[in-house]
């Protein structure tokens, strides 16, 4: 079984390409069917959308609605991960990285008929950057103090100037849905394929086709094909699954491996494994100097040799095979191979070898006595791994790791805590030894991870908010992260971040365990679906989907 799995691990990249090719064929085929079909697409939001204002979006449900209704200047193609023109036909960024100029399409109007022009972009940016709005989307643009200036050059041309260079500036506009300056309907006037037609709090959000949507398919037919999308608000995954099985839902955006296998067993045609996603699961040790844990334990945790040994003693293949039923890949570093541009392809997979791990520990003075590992001062190597309760995969990973480490004489206590307690220990009291948690990456760009890698950051989890970097390698990461953020040359940025990935692999402040695969389910009634790893996995091409009548 493990042999087969290894194969899968190595082949994943090629497999994935062939899936993509297959998908394109299906897409073009379905376009043909689509013209007459239309129909209603139904799926679940797992939470109540907190806002319909595209600038205030922070939660997943609101983001889904923004994606389906909002018109953006540029869009990251979820499949190719390339940036593509939308409302902007073209754009360019100034040498100093502070200014972006868009050339807009003309003859487009909002859903209520109000024409779209450069003033709307200026208005949107002004709203977005208004400090009173506290827009999370806006925060990504805030590179330095000072005002953001928008200059309308012509009705189809606008330049926006930022007080300091913003790395990956163009891609950030993927999140900015353009508002109308003049429409009396304000944010309900949209440029995206759908409009919000009805909202029943706690129950449903009904989206209808935007009659004024500007896009057409290759044959000149107006998009979107769908008449409407019904989003049911349903936090319970069992119910979601049940309703999907009954045919009441057309897709499930992200599936657990367990659900995936259950469904795959009966209806393999419905499930899609899009390969490793950007999300990672990792283990890290508490390296906070003032943490209330014994000094000798801090010495272990702050030793890169110790961390590397632990990393080497963990059987990642088993984690992905057993815990995720093969729907995960051993992780190599902060970015999974799924991040096509930014992943450092020179990284070597972490080998699994308890013997090598033990040898490495012995060079540091650790000794194995009667099956119990002791450090050079004869302290038994015992520590706890905390994870959040209710997350079966994490609990199981912890138990497997517990067993793995027992093989080199390390006794691990697995503790599950409720999430708030865990966060309190992780960020306030620092009263923990090791934690397993996941990192969700929504951003392909390493800028999105600045808050993790800068040693002064709150989210620099293993040792946050350092006044000055405590280690030379953390200082090096700080320098590289800042350098890549300040540069607008993608090649130089990539060089810097490649180096960051190598340092992380060397020092193992985060012991990256696995990258989960992006799993989804799509009904056979839906045509044109091509699930991808980026959010929204299943409906990123909603404007080109059709649902056959049942």
């Amino acid at each position: 079984m493990s042999g087969r799995h290894k194969m899968r691990g190595q082949m994943s990249k090629t497999c994935w390409k062939s899936i993509a090719v297959g998908v394109i064929c299906v897409a073009s085929l379905s376009a043909h069917v689509a013209a007459q079909a239309g129909g209603e697409l139904k799926f679940c939001l797992r939470m109540e959308p907190k806002t319909f204002d595209p600038l205030k979006v922070e939660d997943e449900a609101s983001a889904a609605i923004r994606y389906l209704t909002g018109g953006v200047l540029v869009r990251v193609n979820r499949q190719t991960q390339e940036l593509e023109p939308e409302l902007a036909q073209s754009w360019n960024i100034s040498k100093d990285g502070r200014q972006i100029t868009f050339r807009l399409r003309s003859g487009i109007s909002f859903s209520d008929g109000t024409p779209f022009a450069a003033e709307d972009v200026a208005y949107t940016v002004q709203q977005l950057m208004d400090p009173a709005l506290h827009s999370a989307t806006g925060d990504a643009f805030r590179s330095g103090t000072g005002n953001v200036e928008s200059k309308v050059i012509s009705p189809t041309q606008i330049s926006i100037t930022f007080p300091a260079p913003v790395a990956g500036l163009d891609r950030l506009f993927d999140q900015v849905a353009i508002l109308s300056e003049r429409s009396p309907k304000k944010e309900t006037a949209v440029l995206g394929p759908f409009i919000v037609a009805d909202y029943k709090p706690g129950a449903t959000v009904l989206l209808k086709r935007n009659p004024n949507y500007w896009k057409t398919d290759g044959q000149g037919r107006k998009l979107p094909y769908l008449d409407s999308i019904r989003l049911d608000i349903q936090p319970n995954r069992d119910v979601e699954m049940l309703r999907f099985k009954r045919g009441e839902l057309d897709l499930i955006n992200s599936l657990d491996s367990e659900y995936f296998d259950k469904l795959a067993a009966t209806s393999p045609q419905l499930v899609h494994d899009a390969g490793p996603s950007l999300d990672s699961e990792q283990l890290w040790f508490n390296e906070v100097a003032k943490a209330p844990i014994p000094r000798y334990k801090k010495n272990w945790f702050r030793s890169a040799n110790f961390r590397r040994a632990i990393s080497e003693a963990i059987n990642r293949e088993d984690l992905s095979r057993i815990v995720f039923h093969g729907h995960a890949q051993p992780a190599l570093g902060p970015f999974s191979p799924a991040n096509k541009f930014w992943f450092n392809s020179n990284l070597q997979p972490q080998t699994y070898s308890p013997d090598a791990a033990l040898k490495a520990l012995q060079t540091d003075g650790f000794r194995l006595e009667n099956g119990v590992l002791k450090d050079k001062d004869r302290n038994e190597v015992v520590f706890s791994i905390v994870t959040n309760a209710g997350s079966k995969p994490r609990e199981r990973m912890a138990v497997l790791i517990q067993d793995d480490l027992q093989k080199i004489g390390i006794h691990v206590n697995v503790v599950t805590l409720d999430f708030p307690s865990l966060i309190e220990r992780m960020t306030q009291s620092f009263d923990y030894e090791a934690i397993i948690l996941g990192l969700t990456n929504v951003d392909l760009d390493p800028n999105g991870e600045m808050n993790v890698w800068l040693s002064s950051s709150e989210n620099h989890q293993w040792n946050p908010q350092q006044k000055v970097p405590e280690t030379s390698w953390e200082a090096e990461i700080d320098r590289l992260m800042r350098a890549q953020a300040a540069s607008t040359d993608p090649r130089r940025r990539k060089e810097a971040f490649d180096r960051v990935q190598e340092i992380v692999a060397e020092e193992q402040p985060f012991i990256f365990l696995i990258n989960k695969n992006a799993l989804s389910a799509v009904s056979t009634a839906v045509h044109g679906a091509a699930p991808v790893i980026l959010s929204p996995q299943t409906f990123w091409n909603a404007d080109r989907l059709t649902v056959a009548a049942k």
Binding site: M1, D238, K262, A389, L400, D403, V414, L417, D418
Partner: protein, 269 residues
């Protein structure tokens, strides 16, 4: 009836013996991971199959039985005794005592338990052995589980206080303490029995749920609660009936205990 009781005896004896003979009966310890045979169905080596991470389910059931079968009744006994003492005594004494006891009970019922349990967990070190963790959990359950029963007992004991037979016994010169233990307590038995029998399965399940707060039995040690958790979600009876063994065992044991110990109660009623 007699046949049923014998059967109950046999069941309990078998379950107890098997749980104590776990070392010999099970193919391996409860923590041994057969990583090449995860989530397997029953086979000659794994009678009840293996769990998600390849641990022999039969071994886990046996060891889990040990934990739960010893600790849950102990905790139930503790909570029942506390309910009897607090509710029963206060009701029997009446007046200020009853009001005070009910105020304390109300206070207990209204306390934010989740918060307190989280605090309790915070006070415990992270590196505790699974056994200590489960002991503390059942102790907590025992110490907290008495309130509802105490209420009922307080009312019942209050009405017993003015019962003719209590008056008669007082008139016979029986001292207050004996009056309480000999004359009042036996009449609270139905409520106490109910409290005891309800508490056992409730505690077994609560223990599993307290895992959310980092209390309860810690991995890799099994308990009925943690085994029952396997049934959450997508298990269906037809597919994997052996997964229901812990549940069946729990039901069997609780019923057997009830059959065995309720005789006295029935005749007296």
């Amino acid at each position: 009836m007699n046949l049923w009781r014998k059967l109950a005896c046999v069941i309990l004896a078998v379950v107890l013996c098997a749980s104590f003979a776990a070392n010999w009966l099970a193919p391996a310890g409860y923590a041994r991971q057969y990583r090449e045979a995860t989530n397997a169905g029953p086979s000659r080596t794994h009678w009840l199959g293996t769990d998600e991470i390849g641990r022999d389910r039969f071994a886990r059931v046996l060891y889990g039985t040990r934990i739960s079968l010893l600790l849950a009744p102990a905790a139930a006994l503790l909570s029942t005794l506390m309910a009897a003492l607090i509710g029963g005594l206060a009701g029997y004494l009446g007046g200020v005592w009853a009001r005070m006891a009910m105020a304390v009970t109300d206070l207990f019922l209204s306390l934010p338990w989740l918060f307190l349990l989280i605090t309790a967990r915070a006070l415990m070190p992270l590196n505790v052995s699974p056994l200590i963790s489960v002991l503390v959990t059942f102790l907590l359950l025992g110490l907290l589980g008495w309130t509802t029963a105490a209420r009922v007992l307080c009312t019942t004991a209050g009405s017993l206080r003015s019962a003719d037979f209590v008056r008669q016994a007082r008139a016979a010169g029986i001292p207050g303490q004996r009056l309480f233990w000999i004359h009042v307590m036996p009449n609270l038995k139905p409520v106490l029995y109910a409290q005891f029998w309800i508490s056992i399965p409730v505690f077994i399940l609560s223990e599993a749920n307290l895992g959310i707060l980092g209390l309860g039995v810690a991995e890799p040690m099994p308990s009925w609660g943690s085994l029952l958790k396997e049934l959450e979600g997508l298990v269906s009876l037809g597919d994997e009936p052996w997964k229901f063994v812990p549940l069946i065992l729990l039901v069997l044991v609780v019923i057997s205990f009830q059959l065995l110990l309720s005789r006295h109660d029935e005749v007296a009623a």
